[in-house]
Symmetry: C2
Subunit: 350 residues, 2 copies
């Protein structure tokens, strides 16, 4: 492309407001001086914020969008009535070819609906998925779907495997990411029909993919595989259960350290170490889910993200825009022909 790499931003989507978005831009524009940013939202408010920052003058432009999607708006309502919103404008800026990637901290369901409607789904993929980057004992693991769908057929799980593998190559820089399907046991006979069928297809199809087989819930944090495939119902619940558990452990730790004067002294001395711990567990550091399977890149920042969190979503968006996942997904998906799936289904019936 002749123009610079451009990020389209829904500046009104997050709880922290456009102020946090502009603070995030100050960080990201330092790290990526070549990138350009288009802010969609209330023109007067955004111009006032941007004009105060000399460094943003050349790399940021503002486009007026009077409407705003709230966290309570139903996706169907936004599709019918939301054409004036900052979210809609931000997505359609990518559709029009004026930007390479869109970032929003807004309503996830609405963002998925507007993105599917505006950008369309990659040919051969039946449903998009939301992928997240999960910290593990070994580093990082991609988990998908964490909430785009409330169920998944065997073929949809296969799509997720193909998309997650392509994502892991690009974002984790792995040459041959190991892919596993989340299940209640590692043995072949365990699980529901969808996971068993997907495993059969991934084993039988002639894919250039390192398929590990089934993994269990504790394998995510162990880092047993690089990509964990699951339906959006289970994936969303697993993700939020992990967040809740991390907070519970943190709360236990604080209680334990407060209990005695001696341990309070220890806590003061150990404060540096606890800061390191906090940084590693900081959800802002690996902020941003990515919508995979669309004809365009969409990064969803956490709704409650502050400037640090939004900046890390912007960084992820720039990495995604540089890497072109679509050809790899299309190629891998093309290898799983309808005939091969039918064949496997027949073998399964025997």
């Amino acid at each position: 492309m002749s123009r610079a790499l451009t990020v389209s931003i829904d500046a009104m989507g997050g709880d922290a407001g456009p102020g946090a978005v502009v603070s995030a831009l100050l960080k990201t524009s330092l790290r990526h001086p070549e990138a350009r940013f288009v802010l969609h939202g209330d023109e007067a408010e955004l111009n006032a914020l941007v004009s105060r920052q000399a460094r943003l003058k050349d790399c940021v432009s503002v486009r007026h969008a009077p409407g705003r999607v709230s966290m309570e708006d139903k996706p169907s309502h936004v599709l019918r009535r939301g054409k004036d919103t900052s979210m809609w404008h931000a997505v359609h800026c990518v559709k029009a070819g004026e930007a390479d990637v869109v970032v929003s901290a807004g309503n996830t369901g609405a963002l998925m609906a507007v993105s599917m409607f505006g950008l369309g789904i990659i040919e051969g993929i039946s449903r998009p998925a939301i992928a997240t980057i999960w910290p593990t004992l070994k580093g990082q693991t991609i988990v998908l779907d964490v909430g785009a769908n409330v169920s998944a057929s065997e073929e949809q799980l296969v799509d997720f495997a193909v998309m997650g593998e392509a994502f892991a190559r690009v974002i984790l820089g792995l040459e041959r990411p190991l892919v596993g399907i989340l299940n209640v046991g590692a043995e072949d006979q365990k699980g529901n029909d969808a996971v068993k069928g997907a495993a059969q297809i991934l084993r039988a199809a002639n894919l250039p993919m390192a398929f590990h087989g089934f993994v269990e819930g504790d394998d995510i944090a162990k880092g047993t595989v690089d990509v964990v495939v699951t339906d959006g119902f289970t994936g969303n619940i697993a993700l939020k259960t992990a967040e809740g558990t991390a907070r519970l452990v943190g709360s236990y730790l604080r209680q334990a350290l407060r209990r005695s004067l001696l341990s309070r002294l220890g806590a003061v001395i150990a404060a540096g170490a606890l800061d390191t711990l906090r940084r590693k567990l900081d959800p802002r550091a690996v902020n941003g889910g990515v919508f995979l399977g669309l004809n365009g890149v969409v990064v969803k920042s956490h709704g409650g993200a502050d400037a640090v969190g939004f900046a890390s979503a912007l960084d992820l968006a720039i990495d995604m825009a540089r890497a072109d996942l679509k050809p790899r997904i299309t190629e891998a998906r093309g290898r799983i022909t309808a005939e091969s799936i039918q064949m496997i289904d027949k073998v399964g019936e025997l």
Copy 2:
């Protein structure tokens, strides 16, 4: 009953072996001097272990069972060929009315199959469930199903709600436990058909139950409700994801404390506090899942449980045997008539 409260124990089931079972008995028999215990397994090995402990002479009896269920045995294989195993004998001791509750650290799938076959399912309940006690910010929450089934219909989720509520009254000592259904969002329109249908039934049926509605994954550790209802696929993955997350946080903490000499000094001083933390998170302290919905009480101890873990499963078993859950489950389930479910289904179609 005229005989003393009696616990039937599969002494050969766990990874730690019968030695850990006998050590656990030393602890539990101190806490419950009135209880009796029947050990099923290799007679020579068990007698040698028990005879060394004078205190166990009067409260423990040994019954020979030559066979043993391995962790790899398929449930169907155990049903066909497992009649000589310690697990089979332990379950059938309850069936014969010689004991009130059975405890095993063996193969979960086999234990469920042998228990369903041997004890039968409570009338009106379609499938049993495994309930576990989850530590939370507020205390403890019951989560079920965590692995008896790989899916659940709306009616099965309703059964789980009824059984979990009865369990929470007895084990958590609550007068009016708050029940929630695990979902991907708290709003009514979110989720798959099973959770939406179950919520409709629980709202409409005239049950003496405090139904909260939907909860999300992070609500488990928050303690938002006392009983979290989910299908066995999602529940098992949520439980193991939480275990993995707790280990990950523990590992980060150790790394952080080791990093510098100063923080090492802090760690030494804070050691007492960290011990408290470890005890709170110790999976052995809340060891044991309970099979609900059977005509008899079955407590499953963790396969890797040591003496401390097995003793806490024995304590839970004794509490369960003292409380008689079955009448409450039957009564509550009886209020949800086929007519009321059909009526709700019709309203749902409108």
